[in-house]
Symmetry: C2
Subunit: 337 residues, 2 copies
């Protein structure tokens, strides 16, 4: 991972629209555990952003807030090192969004490639909720409110960084001095983990993910149903490793890279059955997820503690973000009291 | 005026983008002075809405906030009867706007006739700032935050009431109970006062308005330049009263309706010069504006007092609007602390 060595202000987060899964673990959670000791890291539980396309089913968001916090703690995110806060507890984020909205045109929002793709995939077209089209402005509010300098992202989210920095430059230009700080992306080197069916995007409704809180039986069933090489019909036949989800997961999760390379070689030559590779993968995932599931359940058993952690982090974040709001209001001459 | 007799919660306000003028006096200020003793009235100084099309020239807004408050007080709005508050001091309004934005589509916003007209007149097209296209959502946040039941509007603003009530119904439907209250328009019976040039919309840059703080000389010059009947070349000629701005202003401001009718009759028959009608109108406007100008200047001489009034009203309004915010957050399940 391309982690900067000097301390940075890192903002990261998740839409609270479902429990976190192995894709999050590989794509961001492991990195956050590493980053927290070196940097000033804040994780935003993005409940308001989660509502931008779930306003008519808000329980999808509200019921997942504490799940997501429990996921964080279970994988080793330490609330004494990382500030964990809730977006809807930070009014300055909404206020900054309002101010920035006057600096970004509808045409600019419609050109955002990430939003374009999401509009298509959700079938929104012009029926897109205003809050969904404008969420890149809200993300810019999140990032700048914390004066974040480094944003862990996938390459599909680079347009968000660009949009944020455009707003930063406009505010600084209006102020004729540096008020806000531009941010840089921290691109993850971890390849994107495929869904267990090897085809679709990971989604709870597709049942093609393995949640961090998955039971032993769920893990077992998910691995058994995993996509391999459809042409690898008999054990003795040569099989294909590329696009074989079992091997991608072994690459991601098996501790011993040599063992994985030997398995790949044997699979390619023939003589290694999918039952065997799946058994090896299942053991490895059961071992990884057993302590996480256990801790997660413990945390969820003590919701008062989860709420206290979220409240404490939100209070710290409230003070930080309101300072930025005051600075931005001053740019517009609205620091009148 | 079609003023309801039972006490209502009234929300009204002005974009703080310039000092108020005779058009505001006739169209809304007089009515507010009447309403304040019977109803619970709040006036919102809409600085954030003023920025939606002035973000690159924010001083146009910030420099006019206290001017507008002084205008209110000078015409007789009593801060002990009417709550005067500043939009940017009420974070709940921005937060409500974010929640409501998820319930309104871009297509719906683009169909709003008022916004359509304004987009055309400002030449925005797709370069329209996001904050400008979405300002009807922000207005719905303003209205509902105060649980306002009665909104004084011109008929061109009826689409705003409709948009607000659509959001109210969606929130109540989601909650499966009444959380927000629908509002009704209070249409002013006063005809719209034309600009002094009789052609364009009143605007500071066109120099075709008479501000409440206009000096004697400014009033005199504005009346002298006023549009009359371009075909009324000689005193003895018959003249036209309809579309003659001097007579429209006499109708609006002269205390003695009989005198105005006699003047009209004489003008129609011939024998009454524009110099004479303008002299009568000028006297009448000088008399109306002299005490207003005087009080306005006194208030502006004591900015600390103006700020204190605005701060007190904003504090009262903050408590009211945050209660509504809590109610709406509960609908989305986000009342978790």
């Amino acid at each position: 991972m391309n982690i900067a060595t000097k301390p940075e202000i890192i903002l990261t987060g998740d839409r609270a629209t479902g429990p976190l899964h192995l894709g999050h673990y590989v794509g961001s959670l492991q990195q956050r555990v590493l980053l927290q000791s070196q940097h000033q890291q804040t994780i935003l539980v993005a409940d308001m952003q989660g509502l931008t396309d779930n306003a008519h089913n808000p329980a999808k968001v509200s019921s997942n807030i504490l799940n997501v916090v429990a996921d964080y703690l279970a994988v080793g995110i330490d609330p004494d090192q990382t500030t964990i806060c809730l977006q809807s507890q930070l009014p300055a984020l909404a206020e900054l969004t309002m101010y920035y909205s006057n600096l970004v045109s509808i045409a600019r929002l419609e050109r955002n490639p990430t939003v374009k793709t999401e509009i298509q995939s959700k079938g929104f077209d012009r029926s897109i909720p205003a809050g969904f089209l404008t969420y890149p402005i809200s993300q810019a509010a999140d990032i700048t409110a914390f004066n974040a300098t480094l944003i862990p992202v996938g390459d599909d989210q680079l347009p968000m960084i660009e949009q944020t920095n455009e707003i930063v430059r406009k505010i600084n230009h209006l102020a004729n001095k540096k008020v806000l700080t531009e941010c840089r992306p921290l691109l993850s080197n971890a390849p994107r983990l495929p869904s267990t069916d090897g085809k679709n995007k990971m989604s709870k409704t597709m049942g093609n993910t393995i949640n961090l809180g998955a039971s032993e039986q769920e893990i077992s069933a998910a691995v058994k149903a995993m996509y391999t090489d459809p042409n690898h019909l008999r054990v003795q036949d040569p099989g294909q490793v590329e696009g074989n989800v079992v091997f991608t997961y072994l690459d991601a999760f098996h501790q011993d890279k040599n063992t994985v390379e030997q398995l790949k070689s044997q699979y390619r030559h023939g003589g290694l059955g999918d039952g065997t590779t799946k058994k090896i993968l299942e053991e490895c995932l059961q071992e990884l997820l057993r302590p996480i599931r256990h801790k997660r359940a413990e945390y969820l058993n003590d919701k008062a503690q989860l709420l206290a952690i979220l409240k404490r982090g939100s209070q710290t974040s409230k003070e930080q973000t309101e300072q930025t709001l005051l600075d931005v209001k001053a740019v517009f001459g609205l620091n009148i009291f």
